[in-house]
């Protein structure tokens, strides 16, 4: 999760490590608590090893050198994949919220579009679950379990409505 957030913020523009940290804090607000200074450089190092970012050294007089980090084509592709991935293996609200935050902060995608794509995927799953329930006799174990699946997906869809209200700026 941290890797994707760092990549997504770099997608807007290249950045120094410390600057990136400040931007992360601004973009994520309370969720930024998990990102400490050391972690940011470890994450950047790993992303560089994986070929998702490159860095260039910059000599500054009387100061320790600083590195500017920049996304590679592969890194940009990875951000794209993460933003458009709708698998949602189990409802990971924080991950989805981070997608919305960094998509908006980096102007990478319209958060309302991300919500719509996720909603289409959940509606598809809700359809599968409700159709399966309609094929089971009322009062059976399977129909009760499927009711649980249906209710959880409905809760997630209701939450997506709340996301849309906030990000869509609807009155």
């Amino acid at each position: 999760m941290q890797r994707e957030v760092v990549l997504a913020l770099l997608a807007k523009e290249p950045s120094h490590g410390y600057e990136l940290r400040a931007r992360t804090e601004r973009a994520l607000g309370p969720l930024a608590a998990g990102f400490n200074a050391g972690q940011m450089y470890v994450t950047l190092g790993r992303l560089e090893q994986s070929g998702l970012v490159t860095s260039t050294r910059e000599a500054v007089a009387e100061r320790p050198e600083r590195r500017t980090y920049e996304l590679t084509a592969a890194g940009r592709e990875r951000v794209e994949e993460w933003l458009t991935d709708v698998t949602w293996p189990r409802p990971d609200l924080t991950d989805f919220h981070l997608k919305l935050v960094v998509a908006a902060a980096g102007r990478l995608a319209d958060p309302v579009e991300l919500v719509s794509a996720q909603r289409r995927e959940l509606v598809r799953r809700l359809r599968d679950a409700q159709r399966a329930a309609m094929d089971e006799p009322d009062g059976s174990d399977a129909s009760l379990l499927l009711e649980g699946v249906v209710l959880r997906i409905e809760a997630d869809l209701t939450w997506l409505d709340a996301c849309e209200r906030v990000w869509g700026g609807a009155p």
Binding site: P89, V123, L126, A129, Q130, A142, G148
Partner: protein
């Protein structure tokens, strides 16, 4: 083949000046024969108004409304009443059954009003109640029926004259999940028999069973998509649950 329902540039505005409300705004919409469409959206998005315009219960401020090849927004109230009786079936959230009539009498009433003979109307109503799993409830009054049973009687009444299109406004809004599932199974049966169906609903599970979902916001269509048929069965879904 011409569509069963066709709306072209339809507007429905209420009030004027600063108080103007655009309940439906420049909307284009078509429903093909045999199609089942669910219209969804938050309350106040215009979905009920849309259904009223489609069924000739209300007239648009501008635009054209066609049902079964007839333009209905320029006709007299009397002509629209006849169109509703003969070509449109309505189902409402709170059933709208007549309390003093039995289930059977409720179902046969629209057939009698449309001029069907007493014997034929009775046979048609009995056959429909049987199809709805209510053969033994024909002589019960609405007060003696559960919510799900009442709605099934209301659906039987709505299709008794073999309408060109069945319009349902929040048909599962007052029902629990078991009764909702019963009603949804019934819609499937009607659709399998070729009934064209437009359902307005804010219930996610009702909407999800459609093959086509139309989303409204502020009186306009923001999304219109077709869902591929379900390929997953209960076992797949529940084994997935066990893993998480």
């Amino acid at each position: 083949m011409s569509p069963v329902v066709r709306m072209i540039g339809v507007c429905k505005h209420f009030g004027k000046g600063e108080a103007l409300v655009r309940a439906v705004d420049s909307l284009d919409f078509e429903v093909s024969e045999g199609e089942a469409v669910m219209v969804t959206g938050p309350s106040g998005c215009g979905k009920s108004t849309l259904l009223q315009l489609m069924g000739g219960l209300d007239l648009p401020t501008a635009g054209e409304v066609w049902v079964g090849g007839r333009r209905i927004d320029r006709t007299s109230e009397r002509a629209r009443a006849r169109l509703r009786r003969e070509h449109v079936g309505f189902v409402f959230q709170d059933f709208h059954l007549m309390d003093e009539l039995t289930a059977l009498e409720n179902v046969e009433l629209p057939a009698l009003l449309a001029g069907t003979s007493t014997g034929r109307a009775r046979r048609r109503a009995s056959a429909l109640l049987e199809e709805m799993g209510l053969a033994d409830r024909g002589h019960h009054r609405p007060a003696q029926l559960s919510g799900g049973q009442k709605q099934r009687v209301a659906i039987a009444r709505a299709v008794v004259n073999r309408p060109t299109v069945l319009l349902a406004d929040e048909p599962t809004g007052n029902l629990d999940s078991v009764a909702t599932t019963e009603v949804l199974r019934l819609f499937d049966t009607l659709r399998a028999n070729g009934q064209t169906l437009v359902v307005v609903t804010h219930d996610q599970r009702t909407a999800a069973t459609a093959e086509r979902i139309v989303s409204l916001r502020d009186g306009a269509i923001v999304e219109d998509h077709i869902l591929a048929p379900s390929t997953v069965n209960a076992a797949d879904l529940l084994s997935g649950e066990a893993l998480t």
